[in-house]
Amino acid sequence: MLLRSFAVQGSWNYQTLIGTGLAFVLAPALKEVYRGDGEALCRALGRHTELFNSHPYLAAVAAGAIARLEADGAPPETVARFKAAVRGSLGTLGDRLVWLMWRPMSVLLGLSLVLAGAAWWVGALAFLLVFNALHLWMRVWGLRIGLRDGLQIGRTLKGVPFPRIGDRAAQAGALLAGFAAALAATGRGSRPWEWGVAAAAALLGIALGPRVRPAAMVAMVLALVAGLVLART
Protein backbone atom coordinates (compact mmCIF):
# COMPACT_ATOMS: atom_id res chain seq x y z
CA MET A 1 0.00 0.00 0.00
CA LEU A 2 2.80 2.42 0.87
CA LEU A 3 4.53 1.99 -2.50
CA ARG A 4 1.22 2.29 -4.35
CA SER A 5 0.42 5.50 -2.43
CA PHE A 6 3.22 7.21 -4.39
CA ALA A 7 1.06 6.80 -7.50
CA VAL A 8 -2.28 7.75 -5.95
CA GLN A 9 -2.68 10.66 -8.39
CA GLY A 10 -1.73 8.60 -11.46
CA SER A 11 -5.25 8.57 -12.92
CA TRP A 12 -6.32 12.07 -11.81
CA ASN A 13 -9.46 12.93 -13.79
CA TYR A 14 -12.26 15.49 -13.66
CA GLN A 15 -14.93 12.92 -12.79
CA THR A 16 -13.63 10.94 -9.81
CA LEU A 17 -10.48 13.03 -9.11
CA ILE A 18 -8.17 10.54 -7.32
CA GLY A 19 -10.92 7.96 -6.69
CA THR A 20 -9.43 5.31 -9.00
CA GLY A 21 -6.01 6.01 -7.49
CA LEU A 22 -7.35 5.40 -3.99
CA ALA A 23 -8.84 2.07 -5.08
CA PHE A 24 -5.44 1.20 -6.62
CA VAL A 25 -3.74 1.93 -3.27
CA LEU A 26 -6.35 -0.08 -1.36
CA ALA A 27 -6.24 -3.12 -3.67
CA PRO A 28 -3.61 -5.15 -1.70
CA ALA A 29 -5.51 -4.64 1.58
CA LEU A 30 -8.87 -5.48 -0.02
CA LYS A 31 -7.39 -8.65 -1.53
CA GLU A 32 -6.54 -9.75 2.03
CA VAL A 33 -9.92 -8.76 3.47
CA TYR A 34 -11.92 -10.50 0.69
CA ARG A 35 -9.60 -13.48 0.29
CA GLY A 36 -11.54 -16.33 -1.29
CA ASP A 37 -14.50 -14.15 -2.32
CA GLY A 38 -13.63 -12.75 -5.74
CA GLU A 39 -17.05 -11.24 -6.35
CA ALA A 40 -17.01 -9.27 -3.09
CA LEU A 41 -13.47 -8.09 -3.90
CA CYS A 42 -14.59 -6.82 -7.32
CA ARG A 43 -17.56 -5.03 -5.77
CA ALA A 44 -15.34 -3.41 -3.12
CA LEU A 45 -12.76 -2.26 -5.69
CA GLY A 46 -15.54 -0.80 -7.86
CA ARG A 47 -17.03 0.97 -4.84
CA HIS A 48 -13.74 2.64 -3.96
CA THR A 49 -13.25 4.14 -7.43
CA GLU A 50 -15.97 6.68 -6.60
CA LEU A 51 -15.07 10.38 -6.26
CA PHE A 52 -12.35 11.10 -3.73
CA ASN A 53 -9.83 13.85 -3.22
CA SER A 54 -7.15 14.63 -0.69
CA HIS A 55 -3.68 16.04 -0.51
CA PRO A 56 -1.62 13.28 -2.17
CA TYR A 57 0.71 12.80 0.81
CA LEU A 58 -2.19 12.54 3.27
CA ALA A 59 -4.16 10.17 1.03
CA ALA A 60 -2.17 7.48 2.89
CA VAL A 61 -4.06 8.44 6.07
CA ALA A 62 -7.39 7.86 4.33
CA ALA A 63 -6.19 4.65 2.66
CA GLY A 64 -4.98 3.24 5.99
CA ALA A 65 -8.20 4.14 7.80
CA ILE A 66 -10.40 2.73 5.01
CA ALA A 67 -8.39 -0.51 4.99
CA ARG A 68 -8.92 -0.76 8.73
CA LEU A 69 -12.68 -0.16 8.38
CA GLU A 70 -12.93 -2.80 5.66
CA ALA A 71 -10.94 -5.25 7.80
CA ASP A 72 -13.27 -4.55 10.75
CA GLY A 73 -16.28 -5.37 8.53
CA ALA A 74 -17.77 -1.86 8.51
CA PRO A 75 -20.83 -1.53 6.23
CA PRO A 76 -20.18 0.16 2.84
CA GLU A 77 -22.39 3.14 3.82
CA THR A 78 -20.22 3.84 6.87
CA VAL A 79 -17.05 3.67 4.75
CA ALA A 80 -18.59 6.01 2.14
CA ARG A 81 -19.64 8.49 4.85
CA PHE A 82 -16.14 8.36 6.34
CA LYS A 83 -14.53 9.05 2.96
CA ALA A 84 -16.81 12.02 2.36
CA ALA A 85 -16.06 13.37 5.83
CA VAL A 86 -12.24 13.21 5.66
CA ARG A 87 -11.53 14.23 2.07
CA GLY A 88 -12.01 17.97 2.63
CA SER A 89 -9.94 18.20 5.78
CA LEU A 90 -7.09 16.04 4.45
CA GLY A 91 -6.92 18.28 1.40
CA THR A 92 -6.89 21.54 3.30
CA LEU A 93 -4.43 20.31 5.92
CA GLY A 94 -1.91 19.07 3.35
CA ASP A 95 -2.29 21.95 0.91
CA ARG A 96 -1.63 24.51 3.64
CA LEU A 97 1.32 22.73 5.21
CA VAL A 98 3.07 21.30 2.14
CA TRP A 99 2.26 23.46 -0.89
CA LEU A 100 1.87 26.79 0.90
CA MET A 101 4.62 26.61 3.53
CA TRP A 102 7.02 23.65 3.43
CA ARG A 103 7.71 23.46 -0.28
CA PRO A 104 8.38 27.20 -0.87
CA MET A 105 10.60 27.25 2.24
CA SER A 106 12.58 24.22 1.00
CA VAL A 107 12.88 25.68 -2.50
CA LEU A 108 14.14 28.98 -1.07
CA LEU A 109 16.75 27.11 0.97
CA GLY A 110 18.06 25.44 -2.20
CA LEU A 111 17.98 28.68 -4.18
CA SER A 112 19.74 30.57 -1.36
CA LEU A 113 22.59 28.08 -1.39
CA VAL A 114 22.97 28.32 -5.18
CA LEU A 115 22.82 32.12 -5.12
CA ALA A 116 25.35 32.19 -2.27
CA GLY A 117 27.82 30.36 -4.52
CA ALA A 118 27.38 26.74 -3.47
CA ALA A 119 27.80 24.06 -6.13
CA TRP A 120 24.64 23.36 -8.15
CA TRP A 121 24.20 19.93 -6.63
CA VAL A 122 24.44 21.26 -3.04
CA GLY A 123 21.43 23.53 -3.58
CA ALA A 124 19.41 20.88 -5.40
CA LEU A 125 20.27 18.16 -2.88
CA ALA A 126 19.55 20.38 0.15
CA PHE A 127 16.11 21.19 -1.27
CA LEU A 128 15.29 17.56 -2.08
CA LEU A 129 16.47 16.29 1.32
CA VAL A 130 14.62 18.89 3.39
CA PHE A 131 11.42 18.71 1.35
CA ASN A 132 11.29 14.92 1.19
CA ALA A 133 12.05 14.48 4.89
CA LEU A 134 8.55 15.79 5.65
CA HIS A 135 7.05 14.23 2.52
CA LEU A 136 8.20 10.69 3.29
CA TRP A 137 7.38 11.02 6.97
CA MET A 138 3.82 12.11 6.11
CA ARG A 139 3.26 9.10 3.86
CA VAL A 140 4.66 6.50 6.27
CA TRP A 141 3.16 8.04 9.40
CA GLY A 142 -0.18 8.64 7.66
CA LEU A 143 -0.59 5.05 6.56
CA ARG A 144 0.45 3.77 10.01
CA ILE A 145 -1.97 5.93 12.01
CA GLY A 146 -4.74 5.32 9.47
CA LEU A 147 -4.39 1.57 9.89
CA ARG A 148 -4.16 1.95 13.67
CA ASP A 149 -7.00 4.39 14.34
CA GLY A 150 -9.56 3.75 11.58
CA LEU A 151 -12.71 5.76 12.29
CA GLN A 152 -10.98 7.66 15.12
CA ILE A 153 -8.45 9.24 12.77
CA GLY A 154 -10.04 12.69 13.16
CA ARG A 155 -9.12 12.77 16.84
CA THR A 156 -5.51 11.79 16.03
CA LEU A 157 -5.18 14.45 13.34
CA LYS A 158 -6.36 17.14 15.76
CA GLY A 159 -3.37 16.39 17.97
CA VAL A 160 -0.77 16.59 15.18
CA PRO A 161 1.27 19.81 15.25
CA PHE A 162 0.79 20.58 11.53
CA PRO A 163 -0.15 24.23 12.16
CA ARG A 164 2.97 24.74 14.31
CA ILE A 165 5.21 23.12 11.69
CA GLY A 166 3.57 25.34 9.05
CA ASP A 167 4.14 28.49 11.13
CA ARG A 168 7.82 27.67 11.67
CA ALA A 169 8.24 26.91 7.96
CA ALA A 170 6.59 30.24 7.12
CA GLN A 171 9.01 32.11 9.39
CA ALA A 172 12.04 30.34 7.93
CA GLY A 173 10.64 30.86 4.44
CA ALA A 174 10.18 34.61 4.91
CA LEU A 175 13.75 34.89 6.18
CA LEU A 176 15.08 32.86 3.24
CA ALA A 177 12.99 34.84 0.72
CA GLY A 178 14.66 38.05 1.88
CA PHE A 179 18.08 36.40 1.93
CA ALA A 180 17.74 34.96 -1.58
CA ALA A 181 16.28 38.18 -3.00
CA ALA A 182 19.18 40.23 -1.57
CA LEU A 183 21.75 37.77 -2.94
CA ALA A 184 20.12 37.87 -6.38
CA ALA A 185 20.09 41.67 -6.32
CA THR A 186 23.62 42.30 -5.06
CA GLY A 187 25.42 39.12 -6.08
CA ARG A 188 28.12 38.46 -8.65
CA GLY A 189 27.97 40.70 -11.71
CA SER A 190 25.48 43.18 -10.26
CA ARG A 191 26.01 46.93 -10.62
CA PRO A 192 25.41 49.38 -7.76
CA TRP A 193 22.73 51.27 -9.71
CA GLU A 194 20.78 48.01 -10.07
CA TRP A 195 20.37 47.68 -6.31
CA GLY A 196 17.76 50.41 -6.06
CA VAL A 197 15.88 48.96 -9.05
CA ALA A 198 16.01 45.53 -7.42
CA ALA A 199 14.67 46.90 -4.12
CA ALA A 200 11.73 48.43 -5.99
CA ALA A 201 11.22 45.13 -7.82
CA ALA A 202 11.14 43.29 -4.49
CA LEU A 203 8.40 45.60 -3.21
CA LEU A 204 6.51 45.13 -6.48
CA GLY A 205 6.92 41.35 -6.18
CA ILE A 206 5.45 41.38 -2.67
CA ALA A 207 2.54 43.52 -3.88
CA LEU A 208 1.86 41.37 -6.96
CA GLY A 209 2.29 37.93 -5.36
CA PRO A 210 1.52 35.23 -7.96
CA ARG A 211 0.80 37.92 -10.59
CA VAL A 212 4.53 38.65 -10.71
CA ARG A 213 4.86 35.83 -13.24
CA PRO A 214 2.68 37.33 -16.04
CA ALA A 215 4.10 40.79 -15.26
CA ALA A 216 7.67 39.50 -15.70
CA MET A 217 6.67 37.69 -18.89
CA VAL A 218 5.25 40.88 -20.41
CA ALA A 219 8.37 42.83 -19.45
CA MET A 220 10.60 40.13 -20.97
CA VAL A 221 8.64 40.03 -24.23
CA LEU A 222 8.87 43.82 -24.51
CA ALA A 223 12.62 43.65 -23.80
CA LEU A 224 13.09 40.98 -26.48
CA VAL A 225 11.19 43.01 -29.08
CA ALA A 226 13.07 46.19 -28.15
CA GLY A 227 16.36 44.32 -28.24
CA LEU A 228 15.67 42.88 -31.68
CA VAL A 229 14.72 46.32 -33.02
CA LEU A 230 17.80 47.95 -31.49
CA ALA A 231 20.05 45.19 -32.81
CA ARG A 232 18.82 45.81 -36.36
CA THR A 233 19.34 49.60 -36.23
Partner: protein
Protein backbone atom coordinates in the same frame (compact mmCIF):
# COMPACT_ATOMS: atom_id res chain seq x y z
CA UNK B 1 26.35 24.30 -30.40
CA UNK B 2 23.24 22.15 -30.14
CA UNK B 3 22.33 18.93 -28.36
CA UNK B 4 23.35 15.69 -30.05
CA UNK B 5 20.72 13.11 -30.96
CA UNK B 6 21.62 10.96 -27.94
CA UNK B 7 21.43 14.01 -25.63
CA UNK B 8 18.08 15.01 -27.13
CA UNK B 9 16.70 11.51 -26.50
CA UNK B 10 18.02 11.55 -22.92
CA UNK B 11 16.54 15.01 -22.24
CA UNK B 12 13.20 13.91 -23.73
CA UNK B 13 13.05 10.82 -21.49
CA UNK B 14 14.00 12.87 -18.42
CA UNK B 15 11.23 15.32 -19.38
CA UNK B 16 8.73 12.45 -19.39
CA UNK B 17 9.89 11.25 -15.97
CA UNK B 18 9.84 14.78 -14.57
CA UNK B 19 6.25 15.19 -15.84
CA UNK B 20 5.31 12.04 -13.90
CA UNK B 21 7.00 13.41 -10.77
CA UNK B 22 4.93 16.60 -11.06
CA UNK B 23 1.63 14.89 -10.28
CA UNK B 24 1.20 11.26 -11.26
CA UNK B 25 4.00 9.33 -9.56
CA UNK B 26 6.22 10.20 -6.63
CA UNK B 27 5.99 13.96 -6.25
CA UNK B 28 9.52 14.04 -4.87
CA UNK B 29 9.74 17.51 -6.48
CA UNK B 30 12.53 16.60 -8.86
CA UNK B 31 10.14 18.39 -11.21
CA UNK B 32 10.79 21.79 -9.60
CA UNK B 33 12.24 24.05 -12.32
CA UNK B 34 15.67 24.57 -10.74
CA UNK B 35 16.23 20.85 -10.15
CA UNK B 36 14.79 19.86 -13.55
CA UNK B 37 16.91 22.49 -15.35
CA UNK B 38 20.04 21.25 -13.55
CA UNK B 39 19.25 17.71 -14.77
CA UNK B 40 18.88 19.06 -18.32
CA UNK B 41 22.21 20.87 -17.95
CA UNK B 42 23.79 17.69 -16.61
CA UNK B 43 22.87 15.85 -19.83
CA UNK B 44 24.55 18.64 -21.82
CA UNK B 45 27.61 18.40 -19.56
CA UNK B 46 27.10 21.77 -17.84
CA UNK B 47 24.74 21.43 -14.86
CA UNK B 48 25.82 24.78 -13.37
CA UNK B 49 24.66 26.57 -16.55
CA UNK B 50 21.46 24.53 -16.52
CA UNK B 51 20.66 25.61 -12.99
CA UNK B 52 21.31 29.26 -13.95
CA UNK B 53 18.28 29.06 -16.26
CA UNK B 54 16.46 27.05 -13.59
CA UNK B 55 16.91 29.73 -10.91
CA UNK B 56 15.08 32.29 -13.08
CA UNK B 57 12.26 29.85 -13.87
CA UNK B 58 12.03 28.76 -10.23
CA UNK B 59 11.77 32.33 -8.94
CA UNK B 60 8.83 32.92 -11.29
CA UNK B 61 7.24 29.58 -10.31
CA UNK B 62 7.49 30.01 -6.53
CA UNK B 63 4.02 31.41 -5.95
CA UNK B 64 2.26 28.85 -8.19
CA UNK B 65 0.08 26.57 -6.07
CA UNK B 66 -1.11 23.19 -7.40
CA UNK B 67 -4.23 23.12 -5.25
CA UNK B 68 -7.14 20.85 -6.20
CA UNK B 69 -8.29 21.26 -9.81
CA UNK B 70 -6.75 24.74 -10.15
CA UNK B 71 -5.17 25.70 -13.49
CA UNK B 72 -1.44 26.09 -13.14
CA UNK B 73 1.58 26.06 -15.43
CA UNK B 74 3.70 22.91 -15.59
CA UNK B 75 7.27 23.77 -14.63
CA UNK B 76 9.19 20.50 -15.01
CA UNK B 77 9.48 19.42 -18.68
CA UNK B 78 10.11 22.92 -20.12
CA UNK B 79 12.75 23.50 -17.42
CA UNK B 80 14.59 20.29 -18.38
CA UNK B 81 14.67 21.49 -22.00
CA UNK B 82 15.64 25.04 -21.03
CA UNK B 83 18.49 23.85 -18.82
CA UNK B 84 19.79 21.47 -21.48
CA UNK B 85 19.63 23.88 -24.43
CA UNK B 86 21.02 26.84 -22.47
CA UNK B 87 23.90 24.68 -21.21
CA UNK B 88 24.57 23.28 -24.69
CA UNK B 89 24.80 26.82 -26.08
CA UNK B 90 27.26 27.97 -23.42
CA UNK B 91 29.22 30.20 -23.68
CA UNK B 92 26.68 32.09 -25.79
CA UNK B 93 27.33 35.11 -28.00
CA UNK B 94 25.19 37.23 -25.67
CA UNK B 95 24.58 35.51 -22.33
CA UNK B 96 21.70 37.64 -21.06
CA UNK B 97 19.85 37.70 -24.39
CA UNK B 98 20.21 33.91 -24.75
CA UNK B 99 18.93 33.46 -21.21
CA UNK B 100 16.02 35.82 -21.94
CA UNK B 101 14.89 33.80 -24.97
CA UNK B 102 15.41 30.51 -23.09
CA UNK B 103 13.31 31.67 -20.15
CA UNK B 104 10.56 33.15 -22.34
CA UNK B 105 10.17 29.98 -24.40
CA UNK B 106 10.15 27.88 -21.22
CA UNK B 107 7.50 30.11 -19.62
CA UNK B 108 5.30 29.86 -22.72
CA UNK B 109 5.68 26.08 -22.77
CA UNK B 110 4.94 25.90 -19.04
CA UNK B 111 1.59 27.45 -19.89
CA UNK B 112 1.10 25.00 -22.78
CA UNK B 113 2.09 22.16 -20.44
CA UNK B 114 -0.57 23.24 -17.95
CA UNK B 115 -3.21 23.20 -20.68
CA UNK B 116 -2.06 19.75 -21.84
CA UNK B 117 -2.45 18.50 -18.25
CA UNK B 118 -6.06 19.73 -18.30
CA UNK B 119 -6.68 17.93 -21.60
CA UNK B 120 -5.13 14.76 -20.23
CA UNK B 121 -7.34 14.88 -17.14
CA UNK B 122 -10.40 15.12 -19.37
CA UNK B 123 -9.11 12.19 -21.42
CA UNK B 124 -8.47 10.24 -18.23
CA UNK B 125 -12.22 10.22 -17.56
CA UNK B 126 -12.46 7.63 -20.36
CA UNK B 127 -9.92 5.39 -18.67
CA UNK B 128 -10.52 5.92 -15.00
CA UNK B 129 -13.60 8.08 -14.62
CA UNK B 130 -16.91 6.31 -14.41
CA UNK B 131 -17.23 4.27 -11.22
CA UNK B 132 -17.77 0.66 -12.23
CA UNK B 133 -20.08 -1.82 -10.57
CA UNK B 134 -17.22 -4.20 -10.07
CA UNK B 135 -13.57 -4.37 -11.02
CA UNK B 136 -10.99 -7.12 -10.91
CA UNK B 137 -7.59 -6.07 -9.49
CA UNK B 138 -6.08 -6.45 -12.96
CA UNK B 139 -8.72 -4.26 -14.60
CA UNK B 140 -8.28 -1.64 -11.89
CA UNK B 141 -4.50 -1.59 -12.41
CA UNK B 142 -5.05 -1.16 -16.15
CA UNK B 143 -7.47 1.74 -15.61
CA UNK B 144 -5.00 3.40 -13.27
CA UNK B 145 -1.75 2.82 -15.12
CA UNK B 146 -2.90 3.78 -18.64
CA UNK B 147 -3.15 7.48 -17.62
CA UNK B 148 0.34 7.23 -16.07
CA UNK B 149 1.72 6.06 -19.43
CA UNK B 150 -0.15 8.88 -21.21
CA UNK B 151 1.34 11.42 -18.79
CA UNK B 152 4.86 10.17 -19.50
CA UNK B 153 4.36 10.43 -23.26
CA UNK B 154 2.80 13.90 -22.88
CA UNK B 155 5.73 15.16 -20.77
CA UNK B 156 8.31 13.68 -23.13
CA UNK B 157 6.59 15.22 -26.17
CA UNK B 158 6.41 18.62 -24.49
CA UNK B 159 10.12 18.43 -23.65
CA UNK B 160 11.04 17.45 -27.21
CA UNK B 161 9.01 20.35 -28.62
CA UNK B 162 10.75 22.71 -26.19
CA UNK B 163 14.23 21.42 -27.15
CA UNK B 164 13.57 21.72 -30.88
CA UNK B 165 11.88 25.14 -30.63
CA UNK B 166 14.58 26.59 -28.37
CA UNK B 167 17.42 25.14 -30.44
CA UNK B 168 15.92 26.62 -33.62
CA UNK B 169 15.27 30.04 -32.05
CA UNK B 170 18.76 30.35 -30.59
CA UNK B 171 20.23 29.55 -34.01
CA UNK B 172 17.86 31.85 -35.89
CA UNK B 173 18.10 34.99 -33.76
CA UNK B 174 21.06 37.27 -34.34
CA UNK B 175 22.04 38.46 -30.87
CA UNK B 176 24.86 40.78 -31.97
CA UNK B 177 24.05 44.34 -30.96
CA UNK B 178 21.56 43.20 -28.33
CA UNK B 179 21.47 45.51 -25.27
CA UNK B 180 22.98 42.95 -22.90
CA UNK B 181 23.24 45.12 -19.78
CA UNK B 182 19.60 46.20 -19.86
CA UNK B 183 18.38 42.66 -20.54
CA UNK B 184 20.62 41.30 -17.77
CA UNK B 185 19.17 43.84 -15.35
CA UNK B 186 15.62 42.90 -16.35
CA UNK B 187 16.31 39.22 -15.70
CA UNK B 188 17.94 40.02 -12.36
CA UNK B 189 15.07 42.19 -11.14
CA UNK B 190 12.53 39.59 -12.35
CA UNK B 191 14.29 37.00 -10.19
CA UNK B 192 14.27 39.40 -7.22
CA UNK B 193 10.56 40.16 -7.70
CA UNK B 194 9.78 36.44 -8.02
CA UNK B 195 11.69 35.57 -4.86
CA UNK B 196 10.07 38.42 -2.94
CA UNK B 197 6.60 37.35 -4.12
CA UNK B 198 7.00 34.24 -1.92
CA UNK B 199 6.37 36.50 1.08
CA UNK B 200 2.71 36.54 0.01
CA UNK B 201 2.57 32.77 0.65
CA UNK B 202 4.06 33.07 4.12
CA UNK B 203 2.05 36.14 5.11
CA UNK B 204 2.96 39.80 5.17
CA UNK B 205 3.12 39.61 8.96
CA UNK B 206 6.56 38.08 8.43
CA UNK B 207 7.83 41.25 6.74
CA UNK B 208 10.41 41.93 9.53
CA UNK B 209 11.87 38.46 8.98
CA UNK B 210 12.03 39.12 5.24
CA UNK B 211 13.96 42.34 5.91
CA UNK B 212 16.29 40.57 8.35
CA UNK B 213 16.97 37.93 5.71
CA UNK B 214 17.63 40.63 3.11
CA UNK B 215 20.13 42.33 5.44
CA UNK B 216 21.91 39.01 5.96
CA UNK B 217 21.95 38.45 2.20
CA UNK B 218 23.56 41.83 1.57
CA UNK B 219 26.26 41.07 4.18
CA UNK B 220 26.98 37.64 2.65
CA UNK B 221 27.15 39.11 -0.88
CA UNK B 222 29.48 41.87 0.36
CA UNK B 223 31.76 39.36 2.15
CA UNK B 224 31.87 37.17 -0.94
Amino acid sequence: MTLTLAETVAVTLIGGLVALDGTSVGQFMVSRPFVAAALGGLVAGRPAEGIAAGVVLEALHLAVLPVGAARYPEGGPPAVAAGAVYAANFPPVAASATLLVTVLVALALEWAGGRSVEGMRQLNVRFAGAPAEGLTPGALAGRHLAPVAIDFVRGAALTLVAVLLLGWLLRAIDFSGFPSVAVGTLIRVSVVAGLASALRLFGRAHYPLFLAGAAAGVVVAWLA
